[in-house]
């Protein structure tokens, strides 16, 4: 079942999508990833990882209403 989740864009993903956040309907992170790449082709160039509710995802995960997904290009801190 699809859930409405909050999607945050950071770094180069912000430039690729032209926005810093939005809400999207998706059932799981795998389908969300596909949806994002087809909606924003520029994202395909960016090896982004996702965080679910502030925790980096190792694999895929289902999504629930009011989950927050962060789209995170490679970190550049320091």
């Amino acid at each position: 079942m699809k859930a409405e989740v909050r999607v945050l864009y950071f770094g180069a993903a912000q430039e690729a999508t032209g926005k810093s956040e939005e809400t999207i309907m998706a059932a799981d992170t795998a389908s969300l990833r596909n949806q994002l790449i087809s909606r924003y082709p520029a994202l395909k160039q960016i090896p982004f990882r996702m965080a679910l509710n502030r925790t980096l995802l190792k694999g895929d995960s289902g999504l629930q209403k009011s989950d927050t997904i962060a789209i995170m290009p490679p970190f550049q801190g320091g």
């Binding site: 180069a12 965080a51 502030r54 925790t55 290009p73 970190f75 801190g77 320091g78």
Partner: protein
């Protein structure tokens, strides 16, 4: 002063002095190891970097910093305190954007834990930069 935080703008020499002073109370801390990361005036394609603008997923970064500190403290038993400060926003070339300080009883754990903290910060903090020319 809190041990760890994200601050707006550069980590100034005055702030660094304050951070260092807050490690000075503990007369059992024989060793203090510090790493300071600064914005380099690198040249790319004939253009010189004048500043870097840092952004972060702040809520996650705060959580990651706490986890890094917990991990370092449990890995290095002689460690007495760990400080991590990272800049957000614009930091000019030559200014500091990262400050790490580890105190311990003896030198071995201070130096190794400081390096380990640095590597974890690089690997785990959700921070991004944009070069300004």
């Amino acid at each position: 002063m809190k041990n760890s935080c994200l601050i707006k703008g550069p980590i100034t020499p005055v702030l660094i002095s304050e951070l260092m002073a807050s490690g000075n109370d503990d007369a059992g801390a024989g060793a203090v190891s510090i790493f300071i990361g600064r914005v380099r005036d690198d040249e790319t394609d004939g253009k010189r970097v004048t500043a870097i603008e840092y952004s972060a997923y702040e809520e996650m970064a705060v959580k990651e910093v706490e986890e890094v500190i917990t991990t370092v403290r449990s890995a290095f038993s002689d460690v007495r305190s760990v400080f991590i400060v990272h800049s957000l926003g614009v930091v000019m070339a030559g200014e500091a954007s990262l400050f790490i300080m580890v105190t311990s009883g003896h030198r071995d754990h201070a130096t190794r834990a400081c390096r380990h903290t640095l590597e974890m910060v690089k690997e785990r903090l959700p921070v991004w930069k944009k070069e300004l020319y």
